[in-house]
Symmetry: C2
Subunit: 269 residues, 2 copies
Amino acid sequence: MSSYGERLAAVTAERGRLCVGIDPHRGVIEAWGHEYGLAGLEAVARGMVDALGDVVAVFKPQSAFFEAHGSAGVAVLERTIADARAAGALVIVDAKRGDIGSTMAAYADAYLADGSPLAGDALTVSPYLGFGSLQPALDLAHTTGRGLYVLARTSNPEGAGVQTAVGEDGRSVAQGIVDAATEANAESGQGAVGLVIGATREDAGCDVSRFNGSILAPGIGAQGGTIQSLAEIFGPATDRVLPSASREVLMRGPRRAELREAVARLNLR
Amino acid sequence: MSSYGERLAAVTAERGRLCVGIDPHRGVIEAWGHEYGLAGLEAVARGMVDALGDVVAVFKPQSAFFEAHGSAGVAVLERTIADARAAGALVIVDAKRGDIGSTMAAYADAYLADGSPLAGDALTVSPYLGFGSLQPALDLAHTTGRGLYVLARTSNPEGAGVQTAVGEDGRSVAQGIVDAATEANAESGQGAVGLVIGATREDAGCDVSRFNGSILAPGIGAQGGTIQSLAEIFGPATDRVLPSASREVLMRGPRRAELREAVARLNLR
């Protein structure tokens, strides 16, 4: 079994480093010519994979937009994940799950276990309950060769109140997450633990110069981030960055050629 | 339409203040005499409501244990929510969702919108992205008379790293959440914003003396918290506390009389 870090390196070497977010909100579904509802959700989500599955390295479906349609929407997420993996792309399920103990283990079972219909290749997780609370997910990710992306420093202005607060050891909350992730990767050697750091601020908001995993950087395109600014934000860690664009690509659909052109334009090799 | 605060006050006045967690993990499903799987999940989750729906004020199904069975498990969660509400109990969907902008709005649509099959009466949310990131959920909760429980200070030891870090204003992250929630309730007058604070530490870990909403306190019973210790932990805010027990009740099933006896013993009036 290959590790998440190895699989990510292989697919991005071949296809480039752009991660395409699948965020089928009402505006996107309507822009694709569908009424807002389950059928429109499925047309957009699976249509994205159909149009781009052979050229995009990583898809990042956003679970919230599927959950908004109830369990039937979650079933569409399962089919979208299956399509993308069948097309040879990796899937980061963007669900920002986080809990403790047996509950965290259950989220791991859902998103990181072999054979689970909701399991992609990696999961975004939220560390409000502490980095250590994520341990059951780390353990399963290491066992199944999957990855985690832990929220560290996000681009929304309201994030600062929590993420820049300073702990007893003098480090910010975000830096504590970065350092704990670095340590977890050093121990496992798998590169299974990534970070989520927004690409729309002036700097990373934390020191990632020693970080040894993948950095998911949402916000490219419609949210104001640019591929050109990544080096300014991330410095020497730029070659670890997986820039992620959602609306900027999604709104070109359902026109296949335009979707592929947007990916070619934004891609990073 | 009545507000969440009004509905919670009415049902707890009638039935007492115990919140019963529905955490159908493998051990519980097997203890109820079922194989681990979808049928066992449904037997436990809906069996809990069947046995207790007329005596428990609030059920708190834990989404992770349903998601672990994929979208079919999420459909069981929908049926469990419907059963509980039909029995006159309130439902706090424990999913600890959190995101920003249109994504947070989509989670709100899933769990707080009228007519959504996943909507209970309240939702637990996680504020790593800042209290302000929850605004789309606050707005919808106020519109539909539903509630939010925001993670503030949890009982797991790893939680301290994030929750006790200190912001520029000299307050801890947890205190910042408490104060923002207090302000939101003062503005709306609805009591829609609650807090999640663990009941298994020596103190609340934050000052809740001015707090004006409901406090969900998980950890009663098997996790070590006791109803007797609530007054020590929460002081004058104790009458706002919704103590929550999961395993302590669940493991008495499927024996109906034992389940009802456990609720009667733990209940708080």
